[in-house]
Symmetry: C2
Subunit: 190 residues, 2 copies
């Protein structure tokens, strides 16, 4: 059966198992053996389909939160950003935070993981945001050379990370909307 690929449903189950293990034991203790056992698959299949642990982890991350921001188009930047906060439910936001913690330290020690996450997760995730900002520029809501434009992602990451660090609470939708209205939109002059 060399060359056989998992069915989409089995693939989804396997990605779920990878993220559960990752939250539980962290990246370093996550082995291809454990994933194979947990997903009732074989190590050979895992390597054939994904090539390496960093790529498998990155694809599992990506699969768990498909970027839906490309479908958002309300006609104003404020409307678009608010709509984006409604794309992820709040229990998912908490699970995302747990994953980010599990990966944050590992990323530093594993350049392959860093590269895989950047290619598979960060680039596609931020392309939706970039599209939405470009439309705002096209509509004339923001000047193309507005000095805050390069920092929108930094502001948003701050909202997620700082709430956990400073307030010891996960981000929820009400907090995100307040932050968008008080920080992100005024910084952009909208």
């Amino acid at each position: 059966m060399a060359g056989t690929r998992l069915t989409p449903q089995r693939e989804t189950e396997l990605y779920g198992a990878v993220l559960d293990l990752l939250r539980e034991v962290g990246y370093d203790a996550l082995t291809m053996d454990a994933i194979a056992t947990c997903a009732r698959s074989s190590k050979a299949t895992l390597y054939r389909q994904w090539g390496s642990k960093p790529v498998l982890v990155a694809r599992a991350m990506r699969h768990s939160k498909p970027d839906q921001s490309h479908h958002v188009d309300t006609g104003s930047l404020r409307g678009d950003l608010h709509a984006m906060t409604a794309l992820t439910d709040e229990s998912q936001m908490e699970r995302d935070s747990a994953l980010m913690r599990a990966l944050f330290h590992a990323v530093h020690d594993n350049p392959d993981l860093r590269q895989a996450l950047r290619d598979v997760v960060v680039e596609p995730e931020t392309s939706g945001l970039k599209t939405l900002l470009r439309r705002a520029v096209d509509r004339g809501e923001i000047a193309a050379d507005h000095p805050a434009l390069p920092f929108v992602l930094h502001m948003l990451v701050g909202a997620f990370v700082a709430r956990q660090l400073i307030e010891d609470r996960s981000v929820d939708r009400a907090f995100l909307v307040a932050y968008l209205d008080a920080v992100v939109l005024p910084a952009l002059g909208v």
Copy 2:
């Protein structure tokens, strides 16, 4: 010699050893035995003077970056925030980033460490920033109920964390000043 405390100089050396070990092996693998050996002290002395590992780690963090922001008073918020970026040299910013990474995951699994860091590091560190913002309110630069005021720390944390995550680079002074001018001050309407 029960009750004997370390001299200030020996204390400084010991704090340095704690942070070096922390950057090297991480929080979980950092033991009181290793600290005692490395600092040519005894475990009994460590426990007598600091009580616990989380408190010792938090005090070492605090000692490494005494809050000098209370001395900053240039007469304008822009001037004060820019002056704060000059209080830490850039090699120190890189060492700080390495420490933050070492602690970020540990904080989640260790409520005692989280509490100690909040009491010993976060509260005092942010009191300088709060003083500086209160003066700006008193001078009439910002309305006391400005909606962005509660989020200044979130914006700043975003600058530090996101640069590493998104751009894979440590924060430097030029970046911080650009971020203050493009994001923090405009969000505050200054």
